[in-house]
């Protein structure tokens, strides 16, 4: 168990692609940490650089007190579970789990014993003599985890741990994985492109884009207060509503509508300034009748999501950006409007944010860093 510290970590591929761009990141001992971002953002490269499968072009990686920047993967005391699990097809489950011990020259009897023990912890005892090809996806994942656990590493690295499982199994595996990590208490870094997975599993999340980290924070911080419009658009099963607005004294003008200024932004904005107003569809209330401090528009689409519906409205906005922008709102079941209706949406107090040039406008703290840390 160890912390992972990265300083100015850079990876440039031959051909000039900058996959990691002078990246600083601290992962705390025992933490379940997610690297989240769209494909090509550098998250997998970062994971592979921690593992040692990619050699950093610059900067440093420390695991615990050790500088591992130039160590080969086998000397870093990490275990990695690959997206396809990479179970050796010609070995039994037992031999697969015992493989790291075989490399460490543990004798056969001891290592089969250890493998059986680890397999037992993960409920794999009945499968020890099977080959990977005879296992289901979920079982394969457990074998891969058991193999990673067998060598008691300082750090677990998981590359897209759930993406090879079907939807139902994925939920089950998610719960299993979170419990396992809690019980083992080993620092674990995982890569995902699925924001829901990151929010559900991780203690903290780093949201990445273009080889840089755009925000690091707990799931709550990242969900409630995205540091920039990229994170705002990426996190959440429905993206955040982003609407152009102009400051008018104590209020914000969106088209003809007037909205209260978010508390956070009070005193941080100047009259007449153009900003982006942001609020999650979950934090908007729909009303079929006119209310004050609301955006209004015509209902265009109603999408049924089961217990709720996602309603899209065309809201007329300021002159310059084409006249209308789409605002989505979550409506409880039984209260859905019909397309063509005119409706009003009211942001809940304390749930709306303002962005200036893509970055969060906030009183206490610099974007991306929790307010408490700034003092």
């Amino acid at each position: 168990m160890s912390a992972i510290t990265m300083r100015e970590l850079t990876k440039v591929y031959p051909g000039g692609v900058r996959a990691l761009d002078a990246l600083d990141l601290d992962i705390v001992d025992g933490e379940f940490f997610a690297l989240l971002g769209p494909s090509g953002c550098g998250k997998t490269t970062l994971l592979r650089t921690i593992a040692g499968l990619e050699v950093a072009s610059g900067g440093s990686v420390h695991i615990g007190e050790r500088n591992v920047t130039n160590l080969p993967p086998g000397k870093r005391d990490v275990a990695m579970v690959f997206q396809d699990y990479a179970l050796f097809p010609h070995m039994t489950v037992q031999d697969n789990i015992a493989y790291p011990l075989r490399i460490k020259k543990v004798d056969r009897r001891e290592r089969t014993g250890k493998a059986a023990e680890t397999a037992d912890e993960l409920g794999l005892s009945a499968l020890l003599q099977r080959r990977p090809g005879q296992l289901s996806g979920g079982q394969q994942q457990r074998v891969a985890l058991a193999r990673a656990m067998a060598c008691h590493p300082q750090v677990f690295l998981l590359d897209e741990p759930l993406s090879n499982l079907d939807a139902r199994l994925r939920l089950e595996a998610r719960t299993f994985l979170k419990r396992l990590q809690r019980e083992l208490g080993v620092t674990t870094v995982f890569v995902t492109h699925d924001q829901a997975e990151a929010l559900a599993l991780a203690d903290r999340i780093a949201v990445m884009e273009g080889g840089r980290i755009r925000q690091v924070g707990t799931p709550t911080e990242v969900f409630r207060r995205p540091a920039n419009t990229f994170v705002a658009g990426f996190i959440g099963s429905t993206p955040m509503n982003l609407v152009g607005t102009r400051v008018r004294g104590d209020e914000l003008a969106v088209g003809a509508a007037r909205l209260p200024l978010p508390d956070d932004a009070r005193g941080q904005v100047t009259d007449g300034e153009r900003l982006v107003y942001a609020v999650r569809p979950e934090y908007l209330d729909y009303s079929p009748t006119q209310v004050a401090g609301a955006l209004s528009g015509q209902v265009v689409v109603v999408e049924n999501l089961g217990s709720v519906s996602l309603v899209s409205l065309d809201v007329p906005t300021d002159d310059t950006d084409g006249g209308a922008s789409s605002v989505q709102v979550v409506v409880a079941e039984g209260r859905e409007p019909d397309p063509g209706d005119t409706g009003w949406v009211v942001p809940r107090p304390g749930r709306s944010l303002l962005y200036r040039d893509g970055d969060l406008v906030t009183a206490g703290a610099e974007a991306g860093v929790p307010a408490a840390a700034q003092g």
Binding site: A51, L53, G74, A79, F82, F88, P89, I103, G133, C151
Partner: protein
């Protein structure tokens, strides 16, 4: 309606004729390939074999006569030495080279492979007879089995690398990366992961190398001086009567013994590995 009923018999006849013609053709082709095999099966047991296949007057005298020939059986053993040595070298070096070529990015890698493949057919061919002899002479490899093995290996390696690289390419890199993270060295990865996964490929290349060496006449004929080291393919050339006629009794018997090992090896390896890609890899 009237037209079709009138035409129906002629169509049926035409179909029948076409079918007869097709089968006759196939039978001819079959006979063309089967007759030599039939000769190989009957002639060794005939006390007066000719160049035609006929029902033998059964005898085992030919085998006894062959046993009396001082070089016949030893030559088969020599063939085994040469084939086994060459196959071992080819499989080992081709596996290492193919693995490297499959995993390392070298500029112009494919051109290199095609170039080697092209040149390899020249190395053990007639065109390089003289320089090869010269080379072997300078290296003191004349009349040495090692010399024959090295030269045959050199000729077979490029194609073997080419075949094996394909097998190596189809094993996912994540297996090896996984082993690397656990601390396995490249040779351990090769032994534990890659070789078991490409075993069918190694078997294919091994069989192909053995079959090639078994049938090679030119290289051992050039480089081995005496009959005591000569392999079967060379000894067969010496099975003549005093009058300079081909000794069909010995020749047919020897041919049978000569072809059996390779045929048996094929059956064995094919039943063991099936020349398919096992491993259950799904990506």
């Amino acid at each position: 309606m009237t037209v079709t009923t009138a035409e129906r018999p002629t169509i049926a006849v035409r179909h029948l004729l076409a079918r007869i013609g097709r089968y006759t053709f196939l039978c001819l082709v079959l006979a063309f390939f089967a007759l030599p095999l039939l000769w190989l099966a009957t002639a060794p047991f005939d006390d007066t074999p000719t160049v035609t296949a006929s029902l033998p007057r059964f005898t085992l005298d030919n085998f006894r006569a062959l046993l009396d020939n001082p070089y016949a059986l030893r030559s088969l053993l020599n063939s085994v030495y040469l084939a086994a040595g060459t196959a071992a070298l080819v499989v080992t070096f081709a596996a290492l080279a193919a693995y490297a070529l499959s995993r390392v990015r070298v500029p112009g890698r494919d051109a290199l492979l095609y170039g080697l493949l092209l040149l390899s057919s020249i190395v053990t061919g007639t065109a390089t007879m003289v320089p090869l002899f010269e080379l072997a002479f300078r290296l003191n490899l004349i009349d040495s089995r090692l010399g024959v093995i090295l030269i045959l290996s050199g000729g077979l390696l490029p194609a073997a690398i080419f075949i094996l690289k394909d097998f190596m390419d189809s094993t996912p890199a994540s297996y090896e990366e996984s082993a690397r993270v656990f601390g396995a060295s490249p040779l351990q990865i090769m032994r534990h992961i890659v070789v078991p996964l490409v075993r069918p490929g190694l078997a294919t290349v091994g069989v192909w190398a053995v079959a090639n060496v078994w049938g090679n006449f030119l290289v051992p004929f050039l480089l081995l001086r005496g009959p005591d080291k000569a392999p079967a393919a060379v000894i067969m050339y010496t099975l003549y009567t005093e009058g300079g006629q081909a000794d069909l009794r010995l020749l047919s018997t020897f041919s049978l013994l000569y072809s059996l090992p390779v045929a048996l090896m094929f059956v064995f390896v094919s039943s063991r590995y099936g020349f398919r890609f096992h491993g259950g890899i799904k990506r």
